[in-house]
Structures are given as C-alpha cells and as structure tokens.
Subunit: 315 residues, 2 copies
C-alpha cells in the first residue's frame, strides 16, 4: 500500500499582498517540518494514527499556526483549544473541547481515544485525563504570542467602533490538521485549533465533532477541515464526503470539491484535506488560501499557500 501524509495549517492565510517572501518561506518550512515528522514514522512502518498525531504536534508547537503554541484568543482573552483524532481502521476516536493546559491538545485527544470509552470530553475532566496520561502541561503564557494578542485587540477595537469586518482570513480563522495512509492501508485524521480570533468563549467549532471537522474510515476516506466551523457542523462536511463515496460511488476528488463548493453556497468558507484508500490526497478550499502540503511514497515534499503551483522540496 502506498503511504501518504497530507496536512493543513488552516484556511486562514495572510492576504497575498501581506505575505512577504520571508514570511512565506517560514510558513513553507513550518509545513515541511510537520510533513517530515509524520512521514518519518510512516516510512518506518508506523501507523497512520501515530503519523497524524506527530504531524499535528509539530504544527501545534509552531506559533505560526493557530493551535497549541500560537492559538488565538476568545473574546474574553482566554484560550480554549479543541482537538480530535480518529482511526479509520476501527473508528476509534478521541476529542477534547475548550481546554487550556496540555502543551499538545492533540495528545489530550489521543489520551481520550486510548481510554476506549468516552469520545468527547470537555472542561476539567478532560484535563484530568491528560494529567493521568502524564502529558506535559504549560501555563497560559506559553500558548500566547504577541501576534495573537494584537489580533484580538484589533478585532475588539473594530467591534467597539462598529467598523465593517475587513479582517484577512488569517485573523478570522485557522486550524491545523493531518490525514495519513500507512503501509497497512489504514487511514487516520487529526485536527487541532485555537478556534476563531475573538470567538465567543464557550463556543465549540467543527474540529472535535466527528463527521464535521474530523473523520476517518478505511473504506472511504480520512478528512480534516478548517473554516467557519458552524457551517461544517450543520452540513456534516466530513461525513458527507465519505457518504458520497460509499453510497453514490463518487470519487474522492469529486466529493471533496463538490462539498467545498456547496459549503460556500451555505456561507461556509474554508477548506479541507482528504485521503482515500488509494491515490493522491485532495487539498481543496473556497477562500483565498490554505496553508497545506503533502508527501507521498517518494518522499517529495509539496507545500502551497494560495493558488500557486506547489513548492517542491526533497525530504
């Protein structure tokens, strides 16, 4: 079976005009690092579930992306992170919502999955599961970055002034995610996010909702989404891609493209990455850009931000 890993760093990208060469280069390198980390595992025969976990950990650790270190702030200037992952082989799943503490929220989701009991945990009990799993915790200051604090201040000032919302996608949303296929042909998906800048505290988006922002099923596809989560939830975005493949025989490409177009018609902007039991991954979006990348059997790293051709690099 041909191994494959695809990732996204969110459909919230800087405007092309604001993206200096230096910033773009750093984003590409951040994506490549996540691809390298997940792919190293896959190449050694590791599982898709471990590969998506590792790739998402790398993106969480990188403050350029909205998850873990570098997560955005709520309208109460608090941090509320959501993360989820799912195994396509057996539909095992784990998710956490509204937490702040574990350095890598995706590991907290993994700890829930490993319990093989509950699949979605919120609040202090979710943190207790992370503690019981001996995960490293960090104070709130670790997650905070100057650029996210500035973004919150800009947005709260805009709301106070009544000015129209002219934020770039980068200020509005962002999420990180990964999908992988391993040597055994198993699929997995993982997603992690700080949510929307200045989101309402207590709001849970599509990331930890299986069938909306995160989904995996060996027979059809693994999917990780990014965007205006409410629309992805109401239209069960990820599950609907799987359903079109399973029940109507759509190709992965057709299903992924059609869904992202339809979400747009319902007011949902964003993107998703999807991977089937065979073939190449789909990385689609209906907004200005999506930080994204993939690597297949031969180890060539492909990364892109807007609609330009993929930047290609050796492993």
């Amino acid at each position: 079976m041909s191994i494959c890993l695809a990732i996204h760093g969110g459909a919230g990208t800087l405007r092309q005009s604001d993206l200096t060469e230096a910033i773009a280069a750093a984003r590409h390198e951040g994506l490549r690092q996540a691809l390298r980390r997940g792919f190293a595992l896959l190449r050694q025969g590791g599982s898709a579930l471990d590969a998506v976990t590792e790739a998402v950990m790398e993106l969480e650790d990188d403050p350029q992306f909205n998850a873990g270190h570098g997560a955005v702030l709520t309208d109460h200037a608090t941090l509320e992170m959501d993360a989820a992952l799912m195994s396509g082989a057996d539909r095992r799943a784990g998710a956490v919502a509204g937490i702040c503490g574990p350095r890598n929220p995706i590991l907290a989701a993994r700890a829930v999955l490993d319990l093989a009991g509950p699949v979605l945990m919120i609040g202090e009990p979710a943190l207790n599961i992370a503690r019981a799993a001996n995960l490293p915790f960090e104070p709130a200051a670790y997650f905070l970055t100057d650029s996210r604090v500035a973004a919150l201040q800009r947005e709260l000032a805009r709301r106070a002034s009544g000015a129209p919302d002219t934020r770039s996608d980068a200020d509005r949303h962002g999420t990180v995610g990964a999908v992988a296929r391993d040597h055994a042909g198993h699929l997995a998906a993982a997603t992690s996010t700080g949510g929307l800048t200045a989101k309402r505290a207590g709001r849970v988006g599509d990331t930890p909702i299986f069938g909306a922002g995160t989904f995996a099923d060996d027979a059809t596809c693994a999917v990780s989404c990014t965007g205006t989560g409410e629309v992805f939830i109401r239209y069960t975005a990820a599950a609907d891609i799987a359903a079109r493949i399973r029940y109507r025989g759509d190709s992965l490409a057709t299903a992924a493209h059609d869904i992202i177009t339809e979400l747009s018609q319902h007011g949902g902007d964003g993107g998703l990455i999807a991977l089937g039991p065979t073939g190449a991954p789909e990385l689609v979006f209906n907004c200005s850009g999506m930080y994204r990348g993939f690597v297949t059997e031969d180890g060539t790293l492909h990364t892109a931000i807007h609609r330009e051709a993929f930047c290609v690099a050796a492993l």
Copy 2:
C-alpha cells in the same frame, strides 16, 4: 402536507418483569402528554421546530424520563445535561453540553439556535446565553429525584465491589427526543439528556452532536437517537440515515432499520426515531425497549415501551 410528531423517552426502559402495571400506565401517560403538547401546536399551524421544542419540554419536566427534572447523575454526583435541536428547512441548529441551570435544557439549545451564530456552546458561556434569553433557572435540587440518586448509589457500589454490570437499560442510559413534520412540510428534531448514570463527568455523548444524535434536513429526514452515544458518534448515526436516503435512494424504513442493526454490530445499543418528508415515522431500537410514541394527522396517540403492539388512545 400531513403533520406528524414522534417522540422517545429513551431506549433505557425498565425490564418487562420490573414494569408494574401502574408504572407502565404512568409512562404511557407521560408520553401521551408530550404528544398532546407538541401536536396541539402542529395542528394550529405551528412549526415543526416549535413542536419538537414543546414535546421535549414536557418530557424534561416529567421526572420519569432522563432529561431536565429527573436527569441522571455523573460519577461525581453532579448534573451535566446536553440538549440540541435542528431545523430541517435551513439546517439552523443549536446545542448545549454539560450544563446545569436552565429548567429546560432544550430551551437553552433553542436560545443558541436563535443567535444564528455558534451552534454548540459549553460551560458558563452557554448558561449566559440562557440567562440573556430570560430562561427560568432552577437549583440542582430541582433536577434531582430519589430514584436517580439511588441509581447512582447502586452503580457506584457495584463498581466498588467489582461485580458485573447487570443494570437494566433504564439504569444505563436514557434520553428524550422528538421529530416533527409541520403543515408546510418542514422537519425538525430535538434531543435532551442527563447522560448515562454514573457517566464520567465531562463526557459529552451524541445528543448535542449534529449528525450523530440529532439531525434534520427537509429533503431526507429528521432523526433523534438514544443509546450508547459514543458508537452513535463514531458511526455518525443520524447523518448516515440521511445519506443513504439522499445518495442511494434507501427508504426511511430501510435506512433506519439497517443503521440500528449495524450500530448493534459495533457495540452500540439503543434506538432512534426518524421522520421523512412524507409517510409514517420509524421508531426502531436494538435493545429491550424504548419509551416511544407518535401521532399523525387524525390525532390518534400511539405509545409503546417494549415490543408489544402500540397502545392507542384518542387525543
């Protein structure tokens, strides 16, 4: 368009041997009251969304059912209620998870839906939305009933003793829900629950997950589920019924029956109620029983608990 309302009071029923005639009569009457309340609205031209809200409020107010007054307790002896509702006409949706305060959790979910912004809210911010909507609140003592306290004590004692789990379905799970079709042909679904007796605090089940425990789409169906929520989430139970109808042309009956059989194969026990754009509702379950009922155009009330014939009563 022919109006219809179907409800469930949970797939967690007493064993047939423990169900005295007096208890059974009271359960039937509780179900009929909920049917009457929702149907009265539908008959006057009210919306499906309002009808499912009213029917679920009645079931929440009735301590016989596990939602609102009479909700079960977590392993920390706390109350954590989840509720959700969805409009099939436009996929508007609102849900709350892990709350205790509003007398009717379904009204808190409705308040989220009415915001037309977030769809899933947790914790204190969810309560703030309920407060802003001027919903009546109750102290924890209001929700507590002697039988739920006793059920928790039995279960905690069992766990401490290491004895096998021989609880009846009634002690293990329970949820209330409604699906409706109005004169305009619109569908809606609502679900509300206290969760599982002695569930892990912080655990969120399928109730507030759209596409898992609650779903509505005018073109296909409205669905409300009850059972071991984790399996319903991992197999996107409600959304999968809609997908089989939409993409494969399955009938509502075939899709509902097949899903409930498949969930059983994956370790999921429970049931669901489903209603399509035309025709009768489906009320299916793979365990010993499900408190359930329905009423169609002519106003005849049908209620049942185990696999006996429906008990029929006039409006």
